[in-house]
Amino acid sequence: MSSHSPEVAEHRYRQHHFVTAGQQLDTSKTGMWLFLATEILMFGGLFVGYGLMQGVYPEAWVAGHHHLDRVLGAVNTVFLLCSSFSMVMAVHYASTDQKSKTVLNLGITLAFAFAFLVIKYIEYSHKFHEGLLPGRYFRLAEVGGPPQQAMFFGFYFMMTGIHGFHVLIGIILIAWLMVRANRGDFSSAYFTPVDLIGLYWHLVDLIWIYLFPLLYLIS
């Protein structure tokens, strides 16, 4: 059990311009959902560009996607799905005053996120090695096939790169949550940061679930 009573927690974390803790929670959630909408629209722009160019150069897209490692992509998908589950559990335990389980599940989420980036690193270094680089750095003579693969890999690196950046931000945020959870900051009366960063993490997962088939499973 948390060492704080709900009243103390409410007093401690309610900011001066809110009348009640409930109002503060609603406001924070509104803000987070709006932020998630901006993320979807930003990735939406990339998806539209990717889809349009795939329509123009389908053969280059198919040829390009054969260079991607489906197994590693699938493993990463599983990792992120598992991390989403542990994140849900972390939110659940934070909201039911179970501190050590909250910390444990945040730790599991963090481990999966790291594993995702390690695999991404392995994939990237293979690509660099084989000359599968974006745009003018694409080594067509070594790779062979349609020249527009350079554009495919431009999209590949941008989409996975921006997604990877979001994973990195997620790692920092989850680590911060772990420190705070361990300190006993969260209780059934106040667990907004866990809740909101949980939402963020699910979106990062969701975007990957779209990226994986779009990039790896074309034909």
Binding site: T27, T38, G44, G49, V56, G135, M151
Partner: protein, 548 residues
């Protein structure tokens, strides 16, 4: 004062809360670390006013160069950079943040009876992002400049020299500042209205800002990704927008205008929002058609997302697409017309006072009328084919962006100046400045409609001798405009040097920001107001309006 809400304190720190926000904490550090929305609004105000000055200097240089058909004061290369910087600064660093980030930041929470915006720290953060973006933009100017025009069209922008990468990065950064402001305002309006204030008890300014904030949240991310793609195109040659590499430059235009057309409404909706406040106040009359004006703001925001193709009638997009975009574009005229007619009817049989803010509002009605109607010319495909990329377009968007938004911004600045700084400005001087700005503006831009309809293309460095008279008229207009702004700067700065003399409610308005002291105390109100009536209940005596 009779106008202020009864001073019973809700917390123990009475002394601290009684100090006005300008004197609550001294020195640079107390400003740079503040999370008070009023101080952040003021810091934004100085930032955007400096940028307005910078963009204005570039505008004067453009007009000076166009005094003669050949070279006047600068080379063609410099001219390209000067008009690009004028556009980029005015759009991204001045107009977009002008009303929302500076004025609305200050008055929105006051109007809602709230102590602050929803996320005060995010608010400060957005100001820092704005400043960082501004510094990057200035760095881009001094390290080679940009000659692409503010639209950064590909493939020119991916192949030309200069600091295009740095400038697009600056705009990318500025976009985040805009997004954070938008998120903050939507959350504020949803969750921080005073007890008893329903959606239709809000002043119309809040509806306008709400619609603006929605566009900021939904459109700006697309600009962010477009600029990122442009950066990648320049650094890696990905080829998405470059026809040489199999890309599609028209795709860039689609991406760009998917943001930048809604962005036009990010610029105009706050201007309309200000007019909806000034006109009832200075007519001392309930606004006519409250709900019609409120919903027309939201309607404009929604339609703004599906008309972007009207910027591209000559780009080679399909004729069917052009016809559809043209058809939808005409729909924008309906909510705009609804607003205009309601404002005019509000004045009917009111006791109209012609103070400086009201003069700006009346100028707005006229100039927005011209800007809006010429927009319908350009929305018609067949007319646009003739007028596309001519001075007619330049004149049209200046009538909307400057003649409407900037005029409304100036109206708002004069309207809320006493509230923001607790000082009245020299009213006769303000009227003279307003007249000069109005005359100067029309002298500058009316001739450009004629120039454009006779075939003078925009952005050209040289022109045919037969256009010289109208160009010179336009340049003389820019000097009158400059003089107006000079006088304005004079009396506004002069007012800051005198003692605080503004009453809490100099214009006898009924909205909440006027029911607290000028300048307001740090926490805005001594106690959170509860709302009994509407924001425009002019049939009730002053001070007996809002608080039940």
């Amino acid at each position: 004062m009779a106008d202020t809400i009864t001073a019973t304190h809700i917390s123990g720190h009475a002394d601290h809360h009684d100090v006005d926000y300008l004197h609550d904490g001294k020195g640079m550090k107390s400003w740079l670390t503040t999370i008070d929305h009023k101080r952040i609004g003021v810091m934004y105000l100085w930032g955007i006013l400096f940028m307005f000055f910078l963009g204005g200097v570039f505008a004067m240089l453009i007009r000076l160069e166009l005094l003669t058909p050949k070279q006047t004061i600068m080379s063609a290369e410099t001219y390209n950079k000067v008009f690009t910087l004028h556009g980029a600064i005015m759009v991204f660093l001045f107009i977009i943040p002008s009303v929302p980030a500076a004025l609305a930041n200050f008055v929105l929470p006051l109007m809602l009876g709230a102590k602050d915006v929803a996320f005060p720290r995010l608010n400060l953060f957005s100001w820092y992002i704005y400043m960082i973006g501004a510094f990057i933009a200035i760095a881009a100017m001094v390290t080679g400049g940009v000659d692409t025009g503010w639209t950064f069209y590909t493939p020119y922008s991916t192949t030309t020299d200069g600091s295009v990468a740095l400038m697009t990065f600056a705009v990318f950064v500025l976009g985040f500042s805009s997004i954070l402001t938008g998120v903050n305002f939507v959350a504020t309006i949803h969750n921080l209205r005073a007890p008893g204030m329903g959606w239709f008890d809000m002043p119309l300014f809040c509806w306008g800002i709400y619609s603006t904030a929605l566009i900021q949240v939904l459109a700006t991310p697309v600009l962010a990704i477009t600029l990122l793609l442009l950066l990648m195109e320049r650094t890696f040659g990905i080829g998405i927008f470059d026809p040489k590499l199999g890309g599609d430059p028209v795709l860039f235009q689609h991406f760009f205008w998917f943001y930048s057309h809604p962005a036009v409404y990010i610029m105009i909706l706050p201007g309309m929002a200000i007019i909806s406040e000034i006109i009832p106040t200075f007519s001392q009359k309930t606004i006519f058609g409250y709900r019609a004006i409120a919903f027309s703001s939201v309607a404009i925001a929604l339609v703004s997302f599906i008309v972007w193709g009207h910027h591209m009638f000559t780009s080679g997009q399909s004729q069917l697409a052009s016809a559809i975009f043209s058809f939808i574009t005409f729909f924008v005229a309906i909510p705009s017309g609804i607003k205009t007619f309601n404002w005019i009817v509000t004045m009917y049989k009111g006791s109209v006072a012609f103070n400086a803010p009201m003069l700006y509002a009346l100028s707005f009605l006229l100039l927005f009328g011209i800007g809006g109607l010429t927009g319908i010319f350009l929305g018609a495909v067949s007319v646009d084919i003739h007028l596309h990329d001519t001075y007619f377009v330049v004149a049209h968007f200046h009538y909307v962006m400057m003649g409407s938004t900037v005029i409304a911004f100036l109206g708002g600045l004069h309207y809320w100046w006493p509230k923001m700084f607790g000082r009245m400005y020299n009213e006769p001087a303000a009227k003279v400045a307003c007249a000069l700005v109005f005359i100067g503006f029309n002298t500058t831009f009316l001739p450009q409609f004629i120039l454009g309809s006779r075939g003078m293309p925009r952005r050209y460095y040289n022109y045919l001798p037969e256009f010289q008279f109208l160009h010179q008229l336009s340049t003389v207009g820019s000097w009158i405009l400059g003089l107006g702004f000079l006088i304005m700067a004079g009396y506004l700065f002069a007012s800051l040097r005198k003692k605080m003399d503004a009453p809490a409610n100099p214009w006898h308005s009924r909205t909440l920001e006027w029911q607290t002291a000028s300048p307001p105390i740090t926490h805005n109100f001594h106690e959170i107001p509860t709302i009994g009536g509407g924001p425009y209940d002019y049939y009730r005596p002053v001070g007996k309006g809002r608080e039940a």
